[in-house]
Symmetry: C2
Subunit: 340 residues, 2 copies
DNA sequence: TTGAAAGCGGTACCAC
DNA sequence: GTGGTACCGCTTTCAA
C-alpha cells in the first residue's frame, strides 16, 4: 500500500498524489477528487517512515524525564503538547530512569534523528567549555526547577524559586505570623535550596526572629518527628512553609492525625501547586509556577533552534528572557491569621 | 555524513559498512578495524530515519496514556522499558489528554508507522463486531485495572481483582475473623466491584454470616461515619476489608483519631499496595498486583503480535494466559487474630 | 569475505 | 497543472 497504488487507481502520477497531500491547491479540483476517491477506496495512509526519511526530520520533540512518577511533569506536558502540535511537532515522553545522563546521550538521539528536538528535565553533570559550546548548538532546551547555581547553561528555562519563596513567606507575614518555620527536603536540590534562601530573606526583611529552616528526610516518620518538635517550640510557631507540596501534604496529614487544627493552630503553605495540593484537608495554599508561560517560551526557543541552528550561535536574548515569568500565590484554606 | 563517507574513508563499499553494524561477524577482522577507525574519525552515527524506513519499522513501542499524572503508570513503565529494550524496542510515552479515543486513532499511529506497537492504558468505547475483529489484528495490547465486564476485548492484560479480593478475605478468615465488613468506593468502578464480589464469595465459602459491603463516598467525613457505624454493629465486627488502599488509609486515620487500636480491636486490610500503604500507623496489610509479571506478559504478547500478525488471527492462547498472574498478599501490622 | 546494485516510499525539481 | 525522475541513506540479495 503505497503512493503508487493510489496513483495507479486514480490514473495520475505519484507526483500528483504527493501534491495532493502537500500542496493541494496546485491541483485542479477534478484531479483532487480523483485522488481523494482513490485514497478513500484504498484507505491509504502516507508512510511516516518514508516521509521522515525523505524530509530528514522525525517531526518529534521528545521530553526527557527521569521518572514519570513526578507529579510536576504533567503540568509541563499538558502545556507543551498543544503548542508543539500547532508547530507541526508531536510530543513524546522518554523516561530514562537514569540521572546525570551524559551529553552524548542527547547528542546521539539527535544525530541519529530519533527526535528533531529535546526538552530535557534532568540535571546535567558539570560542563566544560567544549561541551557547553556543543550544547548551545544542539536543539535542546533544558527545563529544570532551578538553573544550576554556578553554571550558565545555554537555553535554560527555569523558575525563580527565590522570589517565589519570598512571596510565600510574605503571605504568611502579611497574615500576621511572626514565628514561621521552613521545612525543606534533605536532598541537595537547588530548587529547594533557593526557596530556603528566599524564605530566609523575606523573614529577615520583615525583621522577624524565626528564620529557622529544618531539613527532613522524605518519609512519614521523619516528618512526624519534625512536626512534633515544631509544635513544642517556643515562642510558639504559628506557620510552616514547606519548600515542596508533597512535604506540605505529609505535614498536613501528620497534623490531622495529631488532631491539630489547620489553619487555626498552625498555617501551612506549600510550593508548586501539584494536583493533590487542592485535595488536602484543608486545601493547601501554595505557589504556582507559570508552567504555561515557561513552556511556551521553551517550545518557542526550541523550534527556533531546530530551524535556525546553523546561524544562531548567540543566545543572549533567549537567556535573558527567562527571568521574566511571574509565579502566582494560590490561597486556599491551609493558611490564615494566627490566633493572638 | 552518511554511510558513504565512511565507506570512502575506510576504502570499502557501503555494504561493508552496513555489515559492520548489522552482521559484524561476517567481516574480516582487518576490514572491521578499518571501518571502525573511519567511523570513529568521522564520529558517524547511522541515520535512524533511513534505517527505519528501509526496515519498515520504527523500533518504537508507544505507551498511550490519558495523563501521565496518574501515579499508577510509573509501575508499568518502569517494568516495561527494560524488557522492551532487550527485545530491541525503545519505549516512549504518549499523553493524549483525551478519553475514549476512537480506534482509528490507534490504527493511524500504526499504519503510518509511527510506532510498531501500542500499549494502551486508556478505556475504549464499546466495540462492535467489526472493530473488535480489527483490533485483534493490530499490534495493540490493553492494560487496565480491570477488563470491562461485558466485553471480551482481545489482548487485554488485566488484574484478577476477584481472586485477589478472595485472598484478602481469606487472610482475615484464616486469622480467625468471623465478622468482617467490606468498605468500597461509591463510584462505579469495575475493579472495585469485582473486589467486592471476590470478598463476598470468600465469606460465603467460609460459611460466615457477615458479607456486608458498605459503599462510601470518597471523603473523610463519610468514612468517619461509616467507621463509626461499623464499630457499633452486632455481632462485633473485628475486621474491615477496604477495596482500595486510600480508603483503608482513611479508615486507619479515623480509627486512630478515635483511639481505637489496630489490629487489637479491629483489623484493616487494603488493596493495591500504593506507595503510602507502607507508611501508615500501623503499616497496612494489603494486596499487591503483579505489575512486573503483567507487564512482562503484555510486552511478550505485543512483540509476538508485531512479529506474527499476518499469521496469527486466533488469539485464544494469549487471552487465556491473562488469568494466571498471581497477586501477592503483603502482611504488615494492620491485621491480626481477633481477641476472643 | 566483499562489492554492485536494486529498491524501500516518498519529495521536489525540471519539463512539458 | 501534471508527469517523469533523481535521490534521500540504508539493507540485502546476488555474484564474484
Amino acid at each position: 500500500m503505497s503512493i503508487k497504488s493510489v496513483a495507479k487507481m486514480a490514473g495520475v502520477s505519484i507526483a500528483t498524489v504527493s501534491r495532493y497531500f502537500n500542496k493541494p491547491d496546485l491541483l485542479k479540483k477534478q484531479t483532487r477528487d480523483k485522488v481523494e476517491k482513490a485514497i478513500a477506496a484504498l484507505n491509504y495512509q502516507p508512510n511516516t517512515l518514508a516521509q521522515n526519511f525523505r524530509r530528514g526530520k522525525s517531526g518529534l520533540i521528545v521530553i526527557v524525564v527521569y521518572n514519570i512518577g513526578n507529579p510536576l511533569y504533567e503540568n509541563f506536558t499538558q502545556a507543551i503538547t498543544p503548542i508543539a502540535q500547532s508547530k507541526g511537532y508531536d510530543i513524546l515522553i522518554k523516561e530514562t530512569n537514569r540521572k546525570n545522563l551524559d551529553i552524548k546521550y542527547y547528542q546521539d538521539m539527535l544525530s541519529s534523528k530519533q527526535a528533531d528536538g529535546l526538552i530535557v528535565m534532568i540535571d546535567l553533570p558539570k560542563l566544560d567549555g567544549k561541551t557547553h559550546f556543543m550544547l548551545a548548538n544542539l536543539p535542546i532546551v533544558f527545563i529544570k526547577e532551578e538553573r544550576p547555581a554556578n553554571d550558565d547553561l545555554p537555553h535554560y528555562i527555569g523558575f525563580d524559586n527565590y522570589e517565589a519563596a519570598e512571596t510565600a513567606a510574605e503571605h504568611l507575614i502579611n497574615l500576621g505570623h511572626k514565628n514561621i518555620v521552613c521545612i525543606s527536603s534533605e536532598e541537595n536540590n537547588t530548587a529547594c535550596l533557593n526557596r530556603q534562601s528566599g524564605f530566609i530573606f523575606a523573614i529577615q526583611k520583615a525583621k522577624l526572629l524565626h528564620e529557622r529552616v529544618i531539613t527532613v528526610r522524605d518519609n512519614a516518620e521523619a516528618i512526624e518527628e519534625v512536626v512534633n518538635s515544631i509544635l513544642q517550640m517556643e515562642p510558639k510557631i504559628t506557620a510552616i512553609f514547606c519548600t515542596r507540596d508533597d512535604l506540605a501534604i505529609e505535614v498536613l496529614s501528620v497534623l490531622k492525625q495529631m488532631n491539630i487544627e489547620v489553619p487555626k493552630r498552625i498555617s501551612v503553605i506549600g510550593f508548586n501547586n501539584i494536583r493533590y495540593a487542592a485535595k488536602t484537608h484543608p486545601p493547601l495554599t501554595t505557589i504556582e509556577q507559570p508552567f504555561a508561560e515557561i513552556t511556551q517560551q521553551a517550545i518557542k526557543v526550541l523550534c527556533e533552534k531546530i530551524e535556525n541552528l546553523p546561524q544562531t550561535n548567540d543566545t543572549e536574548d533567549i537567556q535573558n528572557s527567562t527571568s521574566t515569568f511571574n509565579h502566582r500565590l494560590i490561597i486556599r484554606s491551609s493558611t490564615a491569621s494566627p490566633l493572638i
